[in-house]
Symmetry: C2
Subunit: 381 residues, 2 copies
């Protein structure tokens, strides 16, 4: 563990414009209007979700270990990663499962870092395919029990897990899917990945919750079982609304761990309760999990009674077959709706997205409320 | 067109227990309690959705034509299909996009054949991979414009399309996906496919709306464009709720054609308004599109105020990597909920499913109502 300090005295420099949701460990999101200014989020504006102090890792001493159900356990240097495996670059958004948690808490209090609507961002990621590394390690077959790729970070000191580093896992199916595009990334937006985002090496598992894209990657174990980390087994689950802190233990094993992201969208401009001068152009984002294309975003000016289609701003899929990036949208209001018997100068903006599988967002937060406040994807008003 | 009669005088024998939604063309579904009696729906109970008279095709004269953006146009006999390409068997459910349309119409009238909750069924399908046939035909690359696999049936006489046969298309991406499992099927549940289900050859495109699985397949054209059939360009689209018969033309091109199915579930036993004697076991089905696993089904006895998890009955994925089959579920009510100030002998059953991407069903039909009454997947009560 040489070179890793478990204290908050060596945190990296951050953008002073961040909205800080928690100071130590550092958790921050950009302002919503800043978020949707470009298809690619500038690195310094990309939301930061840390569970412990940021490790300060010496890149020449760094190694990645691969063990478990593999024929050839490996210890790879950063140079090995960069030179032994093909480099690929993908565009993908990451989204915290806690995105929009604050709005869920407003309905009924939940536990966890409060997040507004901007704990997601879109970047390009350069690195090697996890698949190629696992093939190199001669990963065993599914029949031999090789079901999960278990990741451990080097960020010692997670308070929820007794000071252990952050850990999580994805399925081997996702890890090995040639169209799954799971990367071990050492570049972000064309530059060396920075400390807050996982220097020198992180997982980027597109289409699934950000919690699985483990930063400061220390070790990958191929296992019959999911990660035993708190963050896989206890946290990041949608419990039904009858589960509370008195009975949650009964539901931990019965409730599946979150993997793919659900359909999501939010209006970033204007801010709520803004005065608008017509014509006014609304801007927002829409995303879905599993690389599913956003087919449609609906905008309503009357709280969801009537809808119209927003304009979707094109996404460059690049080398991927899946839509891992987000979709920005805009909609120009040219006249006010006629709201019978109501104050026609007051509009109630709502958006909702649909993906290629015709899934759409739930209307009310009440119906998806859950103890941990995850996956709030209700209509954004 | 020899051997094909455009009349309803030569329809096949059907199960007398079917609920007939339209007689000619024949559209029928099994009774809900019958539907969920087995994981595999017996062929005679499998819902039938026809758009025209059932063709009576001579299997020795039958040929399948493949043309368009291919290097080697083909004319294949049924024997070619059965002998030149590997035979694979998959388990997959098909679901009409109009499933549960009647319930949508009860909220506000829509156009189309009325369907209860049983216009879906689960079967095994034997045939060759469409992918293998298209590779044999030397399909062009996406860069050359090979974007859509356009299917035409031999069921001449569709009234909506001026007597043309039924037609539809899927993306080449789906058609060529090695995990997409799109079959040209000549067997259903281990027997020669019958006339109502597409004898001698049909498309089975799992994970997407039944409307794309063209029966009595005549021709496949690889094209830069979607099928020009009425059923691709006009029908099977979810318009927003401001679209009516006066302005729909403006929205035809702006609204995407349905492909992947959305998350769905329904309670099949008990029937609505039944008297229950405790303990009572509820049974139903849950499905999702794109082969996404059903992770969870919630059951509520109080109209969706509180929920509990149902028991999911295992599915055999067989040779597929995706979950194309449906998931049956059950939930045993052992005691009545305490409904404060209400008649505690009256319960209000609701179910809703969640898939591996944490998508769940919308609560109210009002919010997803659309002119054509498609993809009604609101909470089932
Ligand atoms: Mo997260
Ligand atoms: Mo259909």
């Amino acid at each position: 563990m040489e070179g890793i300090k478990v204290s908050f005295e060596n945190e990296p420099y951050r953008d002073p414009d961040f909205i800080i949701n928690h100071k130590a460990p550092f958790n921050a999101e950009p302002k919503p209007d800043v978020l949707v200014q470009s298809f690619i989020t500038p690195t310094e504006k990309f939301y930061v979700r840390n569970h412990a102090p940021v490790p300060d890792i010496c890149p020449t001493a760094y190694t990645l270990k691969i063990d478990g159900l593999v024929g050839q356990p490996l210890t790879l240097s950063l140079n090995d990663i960069k030179t032994k495996f093909e480099k690929v670059t993908i565009t993908a958004h990451l989204q915290c499962a806690g995105n929009r948690r604050t709005a869920m808490s407003e309905y009924k209090k939940v536990k966890g870092v409060g997040w507004g609507i901007a704990s997601l961002s879109n970047a390009t990621w350069g690195g090697c395919r996890l698949r190629d590394v696992l093939l190199h390690a001669k990963i065993f077959s599914k029949e031999s029990g090789a079901n999960h790729a278990v990741f451990w970070g080097l960020d010692f000191g997670c308070p929820e897990d007794n000071g252990k580093p952050y850990g999580s896992s994805i399925t081997v199916e996702k890890a090995m899917d040639i169209d799954g595009d799971v990367l071990l990334a050492y570049e972000m937006n064309g530059e060396t990945i920075n400390r807050d985002h996982g220097f020198p090496l992180r997982v980027v598992a597109p289409g699934i919750i950000g919690a699985r894209s483990v930063k400061w990657l220390d070790k990958i174990t191929i296992s019959p079982h999911e990660s035993e980390s708190f963050f896989q087994r206890r946290d990041y689950k949608i419990f039904h609304n009858g589960v509370d802190w008195n009975n949650v233990e009964k539901y931990w094993d019965k409730t599946p761990s979150l993997q793919e992201l659900s359909i999501q969208s939010a209006i970033c401009v204007p801010a709520p309760n803004s005065a608008l001068y017509l014509p006014f152009t609304i801007t927002g984002y829409a995303t879905s999990g599993g690389g599913r294309k956003i087919e449609r975003v609906d905008v309503s000016l009357d709280g969801g009674e009537t809808w119209d289609y927003a304009e979707l701003l094109g996404e460059d899929k690049g080398v991927c077959t899946k839509y891992w990036g987000w979709t920005l949208f805009r909609y120009t209001i040219t006249k006010l709706p006629q709201l019978e018997g109501k104050d026609s100068t007051k509009i109630k903006l709502v958006c909702r997205a649909w993906d290629l599988s015709s899934n759409t967002q739930p209307k009310d937060v009440k119906d998806i409320w859950n103890l941990r406040g995850v996956m709030n994807n209700c209509w954004h008003t």
